[in-house]
């Protein structure tokens, strides 16, 4: 089931990737843009809310530090007052009497926060015979007990440091085994007496206090779930810490050394110098990223610090971010699916259309076009496509019919042409028994049925009738006109009529009932093969060339006749020349001289004359073929537009 649902989806996706088509582009562009927008919004939101939280955390942290430090310092300050008062009292009190011991006792008795107290004298200061004298009252469970300190205390820190520094000091916290392993600190105040005008230190007043209350205060600090406070002494020794194993045992520096953490060492140095701050810090117990606030206790120079676990402070925003991120991803996937579906709905019909068009391109117009149910551009395209297909189909159908018709006409035309050509004499030499002359003719038809004509036939035994003509226009009408002309010539030409008369009659016949106003230029002559006499009549045709045996080439003189079929009752004059032995007459149509090359230049009479001169000694067939070759060279690259007709008559005589 799952497969069935997912399969088309993946198929579309796969097609998208392979084809890199619209769908892929669309998907990539939209998704990239959307992702970018999302990242920008998400990132901005995250950074700003993070900053707000950090700022709040810092304020809270600094307040906490200030409050805790004040709370502890107030207690310590109040403890400081007691030995301070006692010390100033000692400056004037006559203590040699022994009441001093009771005094110490009452200090301990009246101040429950004080665990023990002594007044320790300098060597021989209390009694000239006693090296040391230090009456000590201390609490033991609920009782207050008394003892003299039984050793030379002069070199102990609680005594020596205030003495050497000449000011009251708090000792480093220490474990007191006697008091049940509680952490204590001693506040020591030197006292003086002026003797012989010299102020001299006489001893030290001390007050020992337990630091359990301080540990309790700090242990009660809970920040988020795992945040905590701790206190380090002036040497960096941990006085309180959730990990009891390091209390009084490790310093922040030894921990830093064990972790190889130089930053922590530097931070520790700042802390014991009495600085305060709010800094990022990695808790060494849990390795958690935290912010740490630290501030000094002004009385003792110890440092309070508290850790604010970043992750826990950030929990809400992290949770929110996770949701936003999940929503973003879900949205992304949703968008991806929508785009794939949309892109698929666009490209699927397009692909189908493309496939159909490929089939159409092979000629199959009956292919089924995809059905599109949407009302969009794709539908329009499909409709246009369908219309195109129908139109093409229609067109091809019509074209097929037209083509068939045309082919029929063309084949008929071809037949007509064949018939037309069949009229022309085409067997050479036509009169092999006649040695007095030779005649050769060639008609190179243009593509369409044309209107050139030539003919020669004997009127009697010695008179050869020769005609070369060119019907105006082209096509079937021209060819029919040509056939009529040839028929008329054949019909009218007799020995009995002068050739001018023949032509006039042909002209009259052609001019009557000539609705299409066609005409034909015609050179018509009768050649006496015995005498060489050539009588000719030129009806508007290109004048043939007379090529004398000596090589002289000249056109035959005009007879001022007009083309036939133009005007009725025209009288055609004729002329006569006599060919000598070896003379040649060259007849042609304008297809020769007006053959055009690519540059629209005509073959021209000059070029024709030059070529005739060159070829005149050759057999007739070679002359025509030589000229034909020359023309086709001249016209190479263009299509022949007009019939080319040439006829050569050479007279040999008897």
């Amino acid at each position: 089931m799952k497969y069935l649902i997912l399969n088309p989806f993946f198929k579309i996706a796969a097609v998208m990737v392979i084809n890199r088509g619209i769908a892929l582009k669309l998907t990539l562009l939209i998704l990239t843009s959307v992702t970018l927008i999302f990242i920008v919004i998400f990132g901005y939101n995250y950074i700003v809310s993070r900053q707000i939280i950090i700022k709040t955390a810092e304020e809270n942290a600094r307040n906490l530090a200030r409050a805790t430090v004040n709370r502890i310092d107030t207690v310590l300050r109040s403890v400081e007052k007691i030995p301070q008062n006692l010390a100033s009292f000692m400056e004037y009190f006559f203590y040699e009497g022994g009441q001093i011991i009771d005094l110490v006792g009452s200090v301990v008795e009246n101040n429950p926060e004080i665990y023990g107290s002594t007044i320790a004298f300098e060597p021989y200061s209390y009694d000239k015979n006693a090296l040391f004298f230090a009456p000590y009252y201390y609490r033991n469970k609920d009782k207050i007990e008394f003892a003299y300190i039984p050793y030379e205390y002069f070199y102990w820190d609680w005594y020596q440091i205030p003495k050497q520094l000449d000011r009251p000091t708090w000792s480093e916290p220490y474990f007191d085994e006697g008091a049940g392993n509680i952490i204590m600190s001693t506040y020591s105040v030197p006292f003086y007496r002026t003797m012989l005008g010299k102020r001299q230190m006489m001893g030290i007043v001390t007050a020992d206090i337990s630091l359990s209350w301080l540990q309790e205060i700090i242990a009660s600090i809970k920040i988020a779930r795992t945040g905590y406070g701790f206190l380090i002494s002036k040497n960096g020794t941990f006085v309180t810490h959730p990990d009891s194993g390091i209390i009084m045992n490790e310093t922040i520096f030894s921990v830093a050394e064990a972790l190889g953490n130089t930053e922590m060492r530097e931070l520790g140095r700042e802390m014991i110098k009495g600085k305060s701050g709010f800094v990022p810090f990695t808790s060494f117990a849990a390795g958690e990223k935290c912010w740490m606030v630290y501030a000094p206790l002004p009385s003792t120079g110890w440092t309070f610090a508290a850790l604010f676990p970043q992750d826990e402070l950030m929990e809400d925003i992290t949770h929110l971010n996770h949701i936003v991120l999940s929503l973003g991803i879900a949205g992304f996937i949703f968008l991806l699916s929508v785009i794939i579906v949309i892109a698929g709905s666009i490209t699927r019909p397009l692909r189908a259309l493309s496939k159909a068009s490929e089939v159409i391109a092979t000629g199959n117009l009956d292919v089924e076009l995809p059905v599109i149910n949407t009302r969009d551009e794709v539908r329009k395209l499909a409709d246009s496509f369908s219309y195109m297909k129908t139109s093409l189909n229609q067109y091809i159908k019509e074209l097929t019919e037209t083509t068939a018709a045309r082919e029929r006409i063309e084949s008929e035309l071809q037949i007509a042409r064949d018939i037309q050509m069949g009229i022309l004499p085409k067997v050479f030499p036509p009169f092999p028994s006649r040695t007095e002359f030779d005649i050769y003719a060639v008609l190179e038809p243009a593509k369409e049925v044309g209107g050139d004509l030539y003919d020669f036939f004997f009127l009697d035994n010695e008179n050869l009738c020769i005609a070369v003509g060119d019907v105006s226009g082209k096509g079937v009408p021209a060819s029919l006109f040509m056939a009529i002309t040839m028929t008329l010539i054949k019909a009218k030409a007799t020995r009995d009529l002068p050739i001018g008369e023949v032509l006039s009659m042909v002209n009259d016949n052609l001019s009557q009932d000539n609705p299409s106003l066609m005409f034909v230029t015609l050179f018509f002559s009768i050649f006496n093969i015995r005498t060489g006499e050539l009588e000719y009549c030129n009806g508007g045709h290109n004048p043939p060339y007379l090529i004398r045996s000596n090589g002289n080439i000249e056109p035959l003189e005009s007879t001022s006749g007009i083309a036939l079929g133009v005007m009725e009752d025209f009288t055609y004059e004729s002329r006569k020349i006599v060919l000598q032995k070896g003379d040649t007459v060259f007849l042609y149509t304008d297809g020769v001289t007006e053959a055009m090359n690519e540059r629209d230049e005509l073959f021209s009479e000059q070029r024709l004359e030059k070529e005739i001169a060159r070829l005149r000694e050759k057999p007739l067939k070679e002359i025509t073929s030589g000229l034909m070759e020359e023309i086709s060279t001249f016209c190479s690259g263009t299509t022949q537009t007009d019939d080319i007709t040439m006829m050569i008559l050479k007279f040999f005589g008897k």
Binding site: G116, A147, I149, Y151, Y155, W156, Q164, E177, E250, S254
Partner: protein
Amino acid sequence: MRIGIISCFFFFCILAAEAGSEQTQLRNASFIPQWVPQAQFAGYYLADELGLYRKHGIILSIIPGGPDNSPSDLLKSGLAQFATLWLSTGIQMRAEGINVVNISQIMQRSSLMLVAKKASNIETPDDMNGKKVGLWGPAFQIQPKAFFKKHNLDIREIRQSFSVDLFLRDGVDVASAMWYNEYHTLLNSGLNPDELTTFFFHEYGLNFPEDGIYTLEETLRKSPDLCRAFVEASIEGWNYAFAHPEEAMAVVLKNLEKAHIPATRVHQKWMLMRMKDLIVPADSETPIGTLLPQDYYRVAEILKENELISEIPDFKSFFQNCSGHGN
């Protein structure tokens, strides 16, 4: 205040005692190092842990040193057959007629030093003139006093306690320190090495080799094999400790825990590393256990000059090397 703690820091008194042992296959012996089980004695504790003493035919009991147990007392009374002592202490005992013999000089260097803050403008010995200098008890004053004499210094001597707080609070300008101990405590109280000026006595011609293994002459005479076995196992223990510092650390920490002494791992590690520098100095080729005559006479002569002994004991009878490197 530390009422319960009584300063027994190297307290010397003289008592004669018989130390007897029988020549059996597996013999009982006891040993006391100068102080609580810390890395300063890693080699012995490791040798014990690894069964090296047993391998050498000794069933050893180690009596932890400390404020309540003085090695010289136990050695004299015969309660311990073997003890570690400073060379100067050994010579003083011998000069006072107690027939102790050094059977192996483990440390080649003295780790005692003076240290000052550069902030007090003390960079050279001369800068100490007129300054307050913290000094420990008599055994620890021999070298500093010779040093002051040598450099013609007039200093204000202040008796120094076990802690370095007086120095940290600027109660003294110069403090006494053991390189392997207090110096590291200073570093772990936030002072950087470059903020401190150090005066190592061994760099000022006052090298007093410290911990060596001692026994009574009588014990050595009666049981030379036992002495040799003890020294060899101990040296093996030291060599093993230097080759396997992590294993050595584990044993040291275990023994500290057993003695209910809070242990700082990095501090013990530092101590072990310094032991290596002091026992097998990188720039010395003296085999472990050897006492060089020049070291002996330097210490003895300074003791005599300071009238701490009247006669210099004979070197040959004082040092009877059991380290297996010949005598």
